[in-house]
Amino acid sequence: MTTTIDGSASALEPLFAFLSYALIQAESAVYKIPGSHVIARYVKSSHQNDPGRTVLEILLALFAIRTLLQSRTRADNGEKHFIQFSEKEVDELVDEWTPEPLGAPLTPEEQSDLASVPVVSGANGPRPKLANTGKQVLNLASYNFTGLAGNETINVRAIETLRKYGVGSCDVHMDLERDIADFLGTEASILYSQGFSTIPCVISAFAKRGDIIVADRGVNFAIQKGLQISRSTVRWFDHNDLKSLEDVLLSVEKERRKRRGTSSQDDSLSPRVSLRKDGAMVDLPELIELKHKYKYRLILDESISFGTVGRTGRGLTELYNVPATQIDMIVGSVANGLNSSGGFCAGSRIVVDHQRINGTSFVFSAAVPALLAVSASEGINILRNTPSILSTLQENVRAIRAVLDRVEAITIPSHAASPIIHIHLRSSAPAASVSAKPSNPATPAPREAPSFDIVGEERLLQDIVDEALAQGVWTTRARRLRGQELVDARPSIRLAVTAALSRKECERAAGVIKAAVVKVLAKRK
């Protein structure tokens, strides 16, 4: 028995020798690393003092390694809803699955909707020729408020720029940014390459999850998308109702005081002043007062009012004589106001520079083509030097309103000075009395859901538009993205008044629209 033990021990001898040799080698190798002596001494003495500590440290090291190796993304497999399938079952499920077609073909109504869009042949302007009829019409549909379309100076400047810079985007929009800032009276401005895509990026550059945004219930679609992409908490106040705004601000204040510590770090107030949906305008001085009282930041969307409102087209700030520096961010459209392409955000230098790095569509997209930027600069120049354009525009607005305001069958919610005029059909039901019930700031739905027959009204309005077009006046139904917007707006006809038409022509156009309304509505009865 002893022999066998001896035998096995002798058999293992070389192994032991190798192990001890390897140990010595490893030890000397470790000690060759500079500083290893210090660590070894530290480990030895700490183990002697407190063996429990060694165990703890080993555990800590293991934990650290595990944390480092762990996948950083949350695996969905770990969720409790995951069902384990065998490969064969997965194959069967894959075979069974039939997707819906990506885009269903258009319904006949949608097709006629699409076909009803007139195509301009040649240059667009106050009196364009339409491709489908070949007739010249008076244009109250396109955005050409100050009549810059077809301006000879602008065209010449655009050609000069083309010969210098080509068509592709190029970094020459710095001049336009400076011109816009000077025009509005802000420190700086930043240019985006599409008007519609400007405000979602401005909002998401400043507001993040956990921030609070207070917004008007009537904000336009671009702002709605901005609110959605920012993932902020949104509180809504009634459209153009500053009393309701103050209530909401108070309730937000209360909410915040309740859970101080987790309070939001950035609050913005984003009422729309875009005149798009119904052409209403906010009372800016009062809004500014509220802003100072409750210490909010204000984003003002002037995508329609810039270039169309105020003595020289500087927008709401000029109309109400408020310095533009009082507003943190003014967002406007170069496309609508200056007949070019793009959008801008004007404000303090810090606000603008922040967007140069954090404005998604600024960073990840090409700039406006040079010739369009130069055209816009020239547009500002023209507005500056000829204040008569804006007074002509106002006269034209008044001329059209004078006719349309007297038409029984329609209502116009737009501000009297607004160059965008929306026409609603007067509803047969009596107007709902304003109830005292306060609205819920957490939802965008208005207090009293208005009732109207979208399909029916749209059809009637389209008939009016078609009738007016047959008489030589081009207007358009306000197009909406039904189903994608937060609240479905009431169908309307949208007129965009322009300074490029004479007063006579405006009166004639308004007369044609009036006759079309009367004719179409009479047919219905």
Binding site: L93, P99, L102, A366
Partner: protein, 660 residues
């Protein structure tokens, strides 16, 4: 050698350059260049006589063949050629038709320097990604650590001693801070240190060369002021793949005519009074260029994705996205309300296992089957230079029945024997892809974007896409630039041919009815020969640069046919030094450097954007610059066979034409 960080003068030239430079310079001083200068002076004198009568000689509708001398003449000072950029090394003879200014579109008549961009059927689409030695990773991480520590120390003292500079980050006067301290840390403490390498102001056409407005900073790059001087530099930083960014030539002439006829703007959204006949023509041409039924054009590339994807998907749909997809796709996906899952970049195994999982599991919690699954990939990834593995995806598509959306922002016009993008490159039927999306900013020298697909789908997007209702339509001059450049890639069929026949052959020429009747393209554009030349030159330049860099020992990412060649620098600090050294050379070169957050943390890189406007000599210049700087910055980390620079330059055609 002086410290490259404190670099102000051009770096010392190494021996290779010295050996080369005498011949290089004598070539320029040769009799031929003297003749060019002479003919210019002559032309200038002639034009002065006639120009004294009219005040605006610039606005002429001359044919493109004469524009070279004309443009040169209109510049008051003759080109100074000390940087070697103004004149071709081999000057044109009377046989060559020079259609462009050498500064905007390089003159490169050698037919050997052409290549046809196409995928070899049967070969695997593989990328060899080479990892650098470990010490590179270690030093990169250490440099980040150091910068983070320094940043926090500076923030700590800055907030106490210079509170005015930090006002927007701290609560002030009862207002909440404008943005959070943490969010802007990277910008303030990393980017600002090397801000001279970003968004340099330029002037003129960003063609083969570009004019940089010189600027200086006295406060460590917080603010810059222009010095008033300009530097001309070789431009390998613009997405000008086919070199259509030109201020002269047939395209620019067509745009000028358009400005006279249509003005600058169409005044409104497509559905609300802003549709021009040019839009209708343009959409038909784009559809036939791509081989799809119909197309929709939007005025901004980013917005094409961010406004179309929400119109395609809704709750109950799933969007599967490559992890490196562009921000606009993620923006659109977030707005759509659909579920989003990502798979590993270009990894088909990861994609297939994800597909199996999502189809078998169905919607989260409810396990109902998905309404639709949309796979969104890019044709060419702009940060990686990788091409999508389209053949494999189409195989998966047959099995798993998902819909496919290919974003061709970078690949359209740049890839494929006919320039029609990845489908053309791989030789697959474009209609097997449900939605093709792309932009006009890059290859076409214009702006805006398109989506193309079946007629029913595009009509639906016309109504449901946000742009049609709310965004301004594309401007006429931009639209015409697209029409002209696209037609010159396609070539225009003879007016006698039948429109139906022309429409049926894809990829074929455009039919004259698909262009505005007034558009008069010069013959070289009309017959498609110039477009073909541009495609071949781009393909050659791309392959030459990427293979040349590899032979020099640089680690590059992506496929060799990609016009974007990312050269990996790894260390953050090398990025700005590389940029400064390139710019400070005798022939200045502008490059784009990118780092985190656009790339993973450890792989900061420089991105060369090759163009058809570059000549073979331009690529040589870049290779030589990289060769010298690579030695200084320890960038040649690729194991394997290396060639000396001379050998690469002398065997360029052979290098490009060999298969992998």
């Amino acid at each position: 050698m002086p410290s490259p960080i404190a670099l102000t003068s051009p770096p010392r030239q190494d021996s290779i350059f010295k050996k080369r430079s005498p011949s290089y310079l004598t070539a320029m001083r040769s009799a031929q260049s003297y003749l060019i200068a002479l003919s210019e002076a002559d032309a200038r004198a002639r034009v002065r006589d006639s120009a004294s009568v009219t005040s605006t000689p610039a606005l002429s509708l001359s044919s493109s063949a004469t524009t070279l001398s004309e443009d040169t003449v209109l510049n008051d000072t003759p080109y100074d050629n000390s940087d070697g950029l103004a004149y071709p090394t081999v000057p044109p003879t009377s046989e060559h038709i020079v259609s462009a200014d050498h500064l905007q579109f390089g003159f490169c008549p050698n037919e050997n320097y052409r290549y046809k961009s196409a995928h070899k059927p049967g070969t695997k689409l593989e990328v060899h990604e080479q990892d650098p030695p470990y010490y590179i990773f270690l030093t990169t991480y250490m440099s980040y650590l150091l910068l983070i520590c320094m940043g926090h120390i500076r923030d700590f003292f800055g907030k106490r001693f210079y509170p005015a500079l930090f006002r927007h980050l701290l609560p002030f006067d009862g207002y909440a801070p404008l943005n959070s301290d943490f969010d802007s840390f990277y910008t303030r403490r990393f980017k600002t240190r090397i801000d001279d390498c970003f968004s340099a102001p330029v002037t003129g056409v960003p063609g083969r060369t570009i004019n940089l407005l010189d600027r200086e900073s006295k406060d460590y790059y917080h603010t810059f002021s222009l010095t008033g001087t300009t530097t001309r530099a070789l431009n390998i930083s613009s997405y000008n793949y086919l070199g259509f960014a030109q201020a002269q030539g047939g395209c620019a002439d067509a745009v000028e005519e358009c400005l006279r006829r249509y003005g600058v703007s169409t005044c409104g959204a497509r559905l609300e009074g802003g549709t021009s006949e040019l839009h209708v023509t343009g959409e038909a041409l784009v559809a036939s260029f791509l081989g799809q039924e119909d197309a929709l054009i939007s005025s901004m590339g980013f917005a094409t994705n961010s406004t179309i994807i929400p119109a395609l998907l809704s709750r109950g749909s799933l969007l599967i996205s490559d992890e490196y997809n562009h921000a606009s796709i993620r923006f659109g996906a977030r707005l759509s309300g659909a579920n989003v899952r990502t798979f590993k970049h270009n990894n088909m195994k990861s994609l297939e296992s994800l597909l199996r999982e999502v189809i078998s599991q169905g919607q989260p919690k409810t396990h109902r089957p998905w309404k639709t699954i949309l796979l969104v990939v890019e044709g060419l990834y702009s940060m990686e230079g990788t091409l999508v593995d389209l053949p494999t995806i189409l195989e998966l598509k047959k099995k798993y029945k998902f819909n496919l959306f290919v974003d061709e922002a970078h690949s359209i016009g740049a890839l494929g024997p006919h320039g029609r993008g990845v489908a053309d490159y791989f030789g697959v039927n474009p209609r097997s892809i449900d939605i093709l999306m792309g932009t006009f900013t890059k290859s076409f020298g214009a702006a805006g974007g398109y989506v193309a697909g079946s007629k029913a789908l595009i009509d639906r997007l016309r109504l449901r896409g946000h742009g049609g209702t709310y965004a301004e339509s594309i401007a006429p001059p931009v639209m015409v630039q697209i029409l002209a450049s696209m037609a010159s890639i396609m070539g225009v069929a003879l007016p006698t041919s039948s429109a139906v026949e022309v429409a049926q052959q894809h990829p074929g020429p455009a039919h004259p009815s698909q262009l505005p009747a007034w558009m008069d393209l010069p013959p070289t554009l009309r017959d498609g020969s110039e477009g073909r030349m541009r495609l071949r030159r781009l393909a050659f330049n791309s392959r030459y640069l990427s293979r040349g860099l590899a032979k020099l020992g640089f680690i590059t990412f992506g496929h060799t046919d990609s016009p974007i060649v990312p050269l990996v620098l790894f260390n953050l600090g090398k990025m700005c030094v590389f940029h400064r050294m390139m710019r400070a050379r005798k022939t200045p070169i502008v490059v784009v450097v990118v780092s985190y957050p656009a790339t993973p943390l450890v792989t900061s890189r420089v991105r060369f954007c090759v163009s058809a406007s570059h000549t073979k000599e331009d690529i040589d210049t870049i290779l030589r610059a990289c060769d010298e700087i690579g030695d200084v910055l320890d960038l040649k980390l690729l194991p394997g066979e290396r060639w000396p620079l001379e050998r690469i330059m002398n065997n360029a055609a052979e290098l490009v034409n060999t298969d992998d």
